[in-house]
């Protein structure tokens, strides 16, 4: 009898658990989402955590000393601040000029390219999908001799490389703008310039901010551009060249530290940039 009831309850419970599973949106969704999430936790989060650990260890010849130390951080901030600052500066200039040049194009596509929007967007994204290595090399070929191997050349190459990343987010935010707002302003007597600065530009700021961030953050770690354009000359070295050198000489803890320090600097820079823009846009309105 006791055995019978036990079987009964389990039989009654099982389908209801299964039904709860199929009925529960969240559970089914997470089951479907979990493989990709686990992939990123194992393939991305875990390696980053281990890299962080490495930055607190020390490479001594061939052995790795796992006693906690901040020596790497002291070494990085003492030795590499020129390169770190140059990387930040180059990335900031690249983000600024890419957005400055890309904004009018995004504006043209959103407001003027009536029937050819699709063609324009395809034309603007194609270069992004083609080999970056080859594009940078080709740019170097058409650059005047005296420009090569200068930080300015690196900025120009980056402006070319990131075009799609500036234009697409800005285009999306311009597309979203309610056209009746512009008509209302026009009816009330605002000229084209006033309409742009008081309506279009403030409303497109989210696109500008995400474009700048999207370009600025990955550019800090760029290796191909300074190596190819700069031809390996220290004057155009960015932080990735330093990291590559440290990996080559097998000092992985120092490489990890350099990478982490540059990321912290990026985070701080982005924080201040966004804060400054918020303040600026408040004063605009």
């Amino acid at each position: 009898m006791a055995a019978g009831t036990a079987v009964d309850t389990s039989a009654a419970k099982k389908p209801s658990w299964g039904a709860a599973f199929t009925r529960s949106e969240a559970l089914r969704g997470w089951t479907l989402l979990s493989p990709t999430t686990i992939l990123m936790v194992v393939g991305l989060a875990a390696p980053l955590v281990i890299m962080l650990l490495y930055s607190f260890w020390k490479q001594e010849g061939l052995t790795l000393n796992t006693d906690f130390t901040l020596a790497n951080y002291a070494e990085v901030s003492g030795k590499y601040y020129t390169v770190l600052l140059r990387s930040l500066w180059i990335a900031a200039l690249a983000a600024f000029f890419t957005v400055l040049l890309g904004y009018p194009v995004a504006y043209y596509v959103a407001f003027h390219a009536k029937n050819s929007k699709f063609i324009w967007l395809i034309l603007l994204t194609i270069p992004f999908w083609t080999s970056y290595l080859l594009r940078v090399f080709a740019l170097r070929v058409i650059m005047p001799e005296e420009l090569r191997a200068t930080p300015a050349a690196v900025v120009i190459a980056l402006t070319h490389a990131w075009a799609a990343f500036a234009i697409l987010p800005i285009y999306v935010s311009l597309e979203k703008i309610d056209r009746t707002l512009l008509e209302a302003a026009a009816d009330l007597g605002d000229g084209a310039v006033r309409r742009f600065w008081r309506i279009t530009f403030p409303l497109s700021l989210p696109g500008v901010v995400s474009a700048m961030t999207l370009i600025f953050v990955p550019t800090i770690g760029d290796y191909v551009t300074p190596s190819l354009i700069g031809g390996g000359k220290p004057a155009t070295f960015m932080i990735a060249n330093i990291i590559q050198g440290q990996i080559k000489s097998n000092d992985w803890p120092l490489a990890a530290t350099t990478a982490i320090v540059s990321m912290i600097m990026v985070a701080i820079a982005v924080y201040f940039f966004v804060a400054a823009l918020k303040a600026a846009s408040r004063s605009l309105r």
Binding site: A26, G29, W30, L32, L33, T36, T37, L39, M40, V41, G43, L44, A45, A46, P47, L48, M51, Y54, V105, Y107, F111, F118, L121, L123, L124, T125, I126, P127, W129, T130, S131, Y132, L133, L134, R135, F137, A138, L139, V141, I142, H160, A163, A164, L168, Y171, L182, E183, A186, A192, V217, P218, I220, G221, A240, Q244, I247, W252, A256, A259, M263
Partner: protein
Amino acid sequence: MSAQPLKKIGERSWGITIFAFLYLAFLYAPMLVLPVFSFADQKVIDFPIKGFTTHWYEEMFAKPEMHKALWNSIQVGVIASLTATLFGLLAAKAITRYAIPGKSIAMGLISLPLFIPEILLGLALLIILNVAGVTLSLLTIAAGHVLLCTPFSMAVLVARLDGFDKSLEEASLDLGESGWMTFWRVTFPLIMPAVVSSLLLTFIVSFDEFLLAFFLQGTEQTLPLYIWSGLRFPSNFPPTLALGSIILVVSIVLVVFAEWLRQAGTGGGKMKVGV
């Protein structure tokens, strides 16, 4: 009264039109350089161009290392694009079909490889592979590419699945098909264009990817690694340009085809911006 200002808003201004076309020229000028110099009869890559030759193409095709690198890249690209599209499809389906708590956190995590510098990803992967005692090979490059390609795939597929009509699946289930059969006979044919588009785009990303491959390479080279070594020795420039021109043309054809499929898939009209 209001007709006049209305017209002013949509007015075509010549300044911005000319700027947009100049910008396009700036974007495409370097991409024309490769094919032009690949047919130039000279060792030094500089103007003026002295003559026409197909010699560099012959020299490039004759190199066995090039064939090896090309084959390696195709293998890595196929593995990476298939795996990434599978992961991307699972995530896209989950995101667009179910209300999931913590969805934005998971999406942020999956998109992260797009936003962190590749050198950081490369170094972190190199360290963990070393800790785990994995020997670097083409497979480790492919694994790195899967991480990089999955967010691209997810973005392409989410754009397609977002406009997906749930009632089609529900009708199939109501008529007695199993969940699995519904997927194969209803869902899959409908999202097919986006899946092919995702496979093509992720293949291109992997095929052109340099920095992760640079970090995670074992003894064998992929095509971008081969090109990189070619770019460092000026005597190898012209054949490398020939190779680069072919890759450029193939990439453009694949991208246009993938974008066309993506558009066909979303029913035309509105352009969905994936990235």
